[in-house]
């Protein structure tokens, strides 16, 4: 059984690819079938992650990187993630504003996604949207996370090479030590490096790296100063990223990365099926509101209820 959307993606039909991404985001059942067919055509792209705090310059940096890869003749896909409002469920996705220069370049496909309640800095659909861009034939795929704080680190298992963007004056060296986000960098960028304190920030990061006692990792994350708005430092950044990519390919790290990615994709797919089954069982038992009433009215406690529900889900 052939999925027309999957066929469209393999023929590089932008509308089909965009529609499939939409259906993945909306978790439509036919989208998974398309993904199954595309899966054997994926695995070629180099996936980059860009993460950092809000306002650090992730979108501008992404735009500059697109330009550099286009100069090299590579095609580029971008998945740019912005937050969903926890109150309304709506979102304003504004990352394309900084990438206008590539609007109309057939070698660039930019897709905005809202987090839709997912934690960790990505949307639930991110990995699948990346797979679609990969099957579409993009050479480099850049994932731009939402503006993150200290522990939204899901990007590590979604991207081969992760850039952590920081800016001068974000806090003293203690911030640098405690923040989980800093442990995930393959390359650090100190953006807006024409501002006061850039060298201090570089030094704080260096000290933090020296204190890292994990000596079995032979890759030491380089620190690159950039002024993304002007394009300064971008050549050096691309060079360091390519060095990291080469490192991954030489060592067994890329195999490890792929296994980790498969593990996560499989668990995500399994979780999604179990949640579907759970939702169906809850409906069959009279719906969530009735179950809440039962607990609220003292008929049952949440734990016994969950045990009885899970028994029914697994019996199916």
């Amino acid at each position: 059984m052939g999925s027309p959307l999957a066929e469209g993606v393999l023929k590089q039909d932008v509308r089909a690819a965009a529609r499939l991404m939409r259906r993945l985001d909306d978790q439509q059942p036919d989208a998974e079938q398309a993904l199954r067919e595309l899966y054997p055509h994926t695995g070629r792209a180099w996936i980059l992650g860009i993460t950092g705090s809000p306002g650090a310059g992730k979108s501008t940096l992404t735009s500059r990187l697109i330009g550099k890869f286009r100069e090299q003749g590579k095609t580029v896909g971008v998945v740019a993630i912005d937050p969903t409002s926890p109150f309304s469920g709506g979102a304003i996705l504004g990352d394309r504003i900084r990438m206008q220069a590539f609007e109309g370049d057939p070698g660039v496909f930019i897709r905005s996604c809202a987090t839709r309640g997912a934690m960790g800095g990505l949307s639930r659909s991110t990995s699948n949207v990346v797979r679609v861009l990969d099957a579409f034939g993009k050479d480099v795929i850049i994932i731009e996370t939402v503006g993150v704080g200290q522990d939204e680190v899901e990007i590590v298992s979604a991207a081969h090479s992760t850039i952590v963007v920081t800016v001068p004056g974000m806090g003293d060296d203690i911030q640098a030590i405690k923040a989980g986000i800093l442990e995930i960098a393959d390359v650090f960028v100190v953006n807006k490096a024409d501002r006061d304190g850039a060298d201090r920030t570089v030094r704080d990061l260096q000290i933090m790296l020296e204190m890292n006692l994990n000596h079995d990792i032979p890759w030491r994350p380089p620190i690159v100063k950039t002024v993304a708005a002007k394009g300064d430092g971008l050549d050096e950044l691309v060079e360091k990223l390519e060095a990291h990519h080469a490192f991954l390919r030489q060592s067994d790290r890329i195999a490890k990365f792929n296994r980790e990615r498969i593990r996560r994709e499989m668990l995500d797919a399994l979780r999604s099926r179990l949640l579907d089954a759970a939702a169906a069982t809850i409906d069959a038992e009279g719906g969530m509101d009735k179950l809440i009433d039962d607990v609220d009215g003292g008929k049952v406690d949440p734990f016994s209820l969950a045990e009885s529900l899970s028994g029914k889900i697994l019996a199916k």
Binding site: A18, R22, D26, S88, I92, E103, R111, L275, D276
Partner: protein
């Protein structure tokens, strides 16, 4: 997980005018009504807008035009959408648009025009009853 479908709407400012307060207010109102808005910023060409609309698989394109170039820009966006095989994506908009121009724009395929004084609730209600998710 249950299938979820919300509207995805592109809010764009074509042409040369530099005032995007109206566009931002509409974008914000759509977000607060639970929809996803792709906002592409100022000074967009029709080509850029259509490119973004196709890549983002939006349910509608909304244009805000205050420059007086609405009679050119609206039809051009519709034409380009058709060229890209995306003529099914509806176009609506608003801005400083004289009453007498509205019938002409509608005859060229613009679904609705909101002029100054339109209430946000009315815009949202119109969107939610008229625009269907893909």
């Amino acid at each position: 997980m249950a299938t979820q479908t919300k509207l995805r709407i592109l809010v764009a400012k074509p042409g040369l005018d530099g005032h995007d307060r109206g566009a931002k207010i509409v974008a914000r109102a759509l977000r607060d009504a639970g929809h996803e808005v792709i906002y592409t910023g100022l000074h967009q060409t029709p080509e850029q807008i259509v490119n973004a609309a196709v890549q983002e698989d939006v349910d509608a394109v909304s244009l805000s035009i205050l420059s007086g170039a609405h009679n050119t820009l609206f039809p051009r966006v519709i034409e380009l959408l058709q060229e890209k095989g995306a003529g099914d994506i509806p176009v609506f908009g608003g801005g400083i648009i004289p009453e007498e121009d509205i019938p002409g724009l509608k005859s060229k395929g613009v679904l609705e025009i909101f002029t100054p004084g339109a209430r946000l609730e009315d815009i949202i209600q119109w969107v939610e009853t008229t625009i269907r998710p893909h």
